[in-house]
């Protein structure tokens, strides 16, 4: 390496990625946050400071929608954490069992829903759960539980939970794969050492494997968090932009879409939309920070 010569090739290598990334991702991100501080009054863009956020959090009409969407979003996330991740871990634990036959086949089949688009998943489940078609009531009838059937997607009380479970059905493959990879990386010697001490079967899972895969569970949790607070497609495909019935499935993504793009009688308002985006940004940032500083650094990592 010679002295003080400008190495242009470094700039050439970096430039395309940095330019596209900055122009299409970072700049719009900050520009959106900036737009949240403006408002359109009489065709003029006027700086209004934090007024939009005040409207969003406290104005009766807006606040009701916002807190509803935020609450729904948390419920959506909680269902994923309580259902998707445990099922994913359980499937991975079964699949990682040594010398299990057809493991690759199960793995590929269970991953199929994950590759389908939300549009397909949303409509497919809508048809299956539809009382008109009668597949869901028919199946419940076959196991003697017909009385349990209800038009789940159409009832305010159940619609959000049903959609969350559909989303769980779709994405179980991701925690399954990541945990499966983590379980495979546990060296055989550790398990054999446990075996000699009489730790086998289920207790080997709880006492040896689970502590070792905790970092992967942490990563899955934060991926789930970011994914859920950014979700939109499934609700839009299944319930439309109005997130019916009666906004009971409204989450931040659909709320933001309706607000900034406009829907039916409501006119689009990019500045309020930006304010909602700002709130989403803050929530995701808080989640990521809690993970990075609160969980990841305290998690005990074992040198394998």
């Amino acid at each position: 390496m010679q002295t003080r010569r400008i190495r242009w090739h470094i700039a050439v290598f970096l430039a395309p990625a940095v330019i596209v990334y900055t122009a299409v991702m970072i700049f719009p991100l900050f520009n959106t946050l900036r737009l949240a501080l403006f408002s359109r009054i009489d065709q003029e863009r006027v700086f209004v400071g934090l007024q939009n956020f005040r409207t969003l959090f406290f104005d009766p009409i807006w606040a009701e929608q916002f807190w509803n969407a935020l609450g729904n979003n948390f419920w959506f996330f909680i269902i994923h954490m309580l259902v998707q991740n445990p099922i994913g871990i359980a499937l991975a634990a079964l699949l990682s069992h040594p010398r299990l036959r057809f493991a690759a086949l199960y793995r590929s089949a269970i991953f199929i829903p994950t590759i389908l688009s939300f549009v397909i998943v949303g409509f497919a489940w809508k048809l299956i759960l539809s009382p008109i078609w009668g597949i869901a009531p028919g199946i419940l009838d076959a196991v003697g539980l017909k009385s349990l059937f209800a038009p789940w997607l159409g009832k305010e009380d159940y619609a959000l939970t049903t959609l969350a479970l559909i989303s769980v059905w779709q994405f179980v493959g991701i925690p399954m794969m990541l945990i499966y990879a983590a379980l495979l990386s546990i060296p055989e010697e550790i398990l054999e050492a446990g075996e000699i001490d009489g730790i086998v079967g289920a207790s080997a899972f709880w006492k040896i494997k689970l502590p070792l895969i905790l970092p992967s569970i942490g990563i899955i949790s934060i991926l789930t968090f970011v994914g859920n607070f950014n979700a939109f497609d499934l609700i839009y495909a299944a319930q439309g932009a109005l997130a019916g019935p009666n906004f009971s499935t409204d989450i931040l993504g659909t709320f933001m879409y309706r607000t900034f793009f406009g829907f039916q009688l409501q006119l689009g308002d990019p500045h309020m939309g930006s304010a909602i985006a700002g709130a989403m940004f803050a929530i995701i940032l808080i989640g990521v920070c809690i993970y990075l500083f609160g969980i990841q650094t305290r998690m005990r990592r074992y040198q394998l």
């Binding site: 395309p16 990625a17 299409v24 199960y106 590759i115 389908l116 048809l127």
Partner: protein, 279 residues
């Protein structure tokens, strides 16, 4: 060796649980596919039976092919996906090479800056992205989507590829330098072929989210000429809610390309995930 861990009863229970879940995972897809080949009456009479000579019908597919521009949408989706992947891989590999190969001031900060986007979803900036696309006249063009997906894919691509490029031997690159190869030749001729497996992993990771995205096509390119398959099927199905044959056929036609991609690339995808590329 593992005798103590597997009794016949345990084995059976494990297979039972896995088969049960596999059925849950595949059942909806299966129901949609078989019913798309049936007459309207058979769809409602016997939704769970396979189509037979009596109930077989392609009427739904005929409606879809007549009404929707299925092949145009498919073509748009392919152009957007392939072009975005090309730029993600090319630009991502170039940046990853610069970050992993050269020591320069600000190297670490540049790496952190590019990594920011791994955790922060690009959707947050949608309002300003739409503004920008309107201002530059790119709205309702496939370029708008390609640019957005390229930006979205770059952070993870740079991160994964620079991990892999650090493992390429220095001796090889230095031998090239002694032979008088330029830095560009070293990158394209020596390094790129060696990280091809990592590039495939990045491509497969990015492919499915791009193909399936509904948000950006809906906002940036909703015009008839630029609809992607995902958006096209959403709009089409929305219009034909009461025509069950058409809806089921449209769903099946949307499932098939992805399923085909998955069958081709599933090994790569699963190897990519399990090799710990995202740890």
């Amino acid at each position: 060796m593992n005798q103590a861990r597997s009794t016949p009863f345990n084995k059976a229970a494990m297979h039972g649980a896995l088969i049960l879940y596999t059925l849950i995972a595949l059942f909806p897809v299966f129901v949609i596919l078989i019913n798309s080949f049936k007459t309207r009456r058979a769809i409602f009479r016997e939704p769970l039976s396979l189509p037979d000579a009596d109930s077989f019908s392609l009427i739904g597919y005929q409606t879809v092919l007549k009404q929707g521009d299925f092949f145009l949408y498919l073509q748009n989706s392919m152009i957007v996906t392939v072009a975005s992947l090309f730029f993600v891989l090319l630009f991502g590999a170039m940046a990853a090479f610069a970050l992993s190969e050269y020591r320069f001031r600000g190297n670490m900060w540049m790496g952190l800056y590019l990594a920011l986007g791994i955790m922060i979803p690009i959707r947050i900036g949608t309002v300003a992205i739409l503004d920008m696309m309107v201002a530059t006249g790119l709205v309702n063009t496939l370029w708008a989507l390609i640019l957005v997906y390229t930006a979205q894919g770059l952070p993870l691509a740079v991160f994964i590829l620079s991990e892999f490029m650090r493992q390429v031997s220095d001796d090889l690159k230095n031998a090239g330098r002694i032979d008088g190869l330029s830095e560009y030749t070293i990158f394209f001729r020596l390094v790129l072929p060696l990280v091809r497996p990592a590039m495939a992993t990045v491509a497969v990771f990015n492919m499915i989210p791009i193909w399936n995205d509904l948000w950006f096509p809906l906002i940036l390119a909703p015009g008839e000429e630029t609809k992607t398959l995902t958006l096209g099927s959403q709009v089409f199905i929305g219009q034909f809610v009461t025509d069950w044959n058409a809806v089921l056929s449209a769903l099946s036609m949307a499932i098939l390309p992805v399923l085909l991609l998955y069958v081709i690339f599933s090994r790569q995808l699963i190897r990519g995930i399990t090799s710990g590329a995202v740890k």
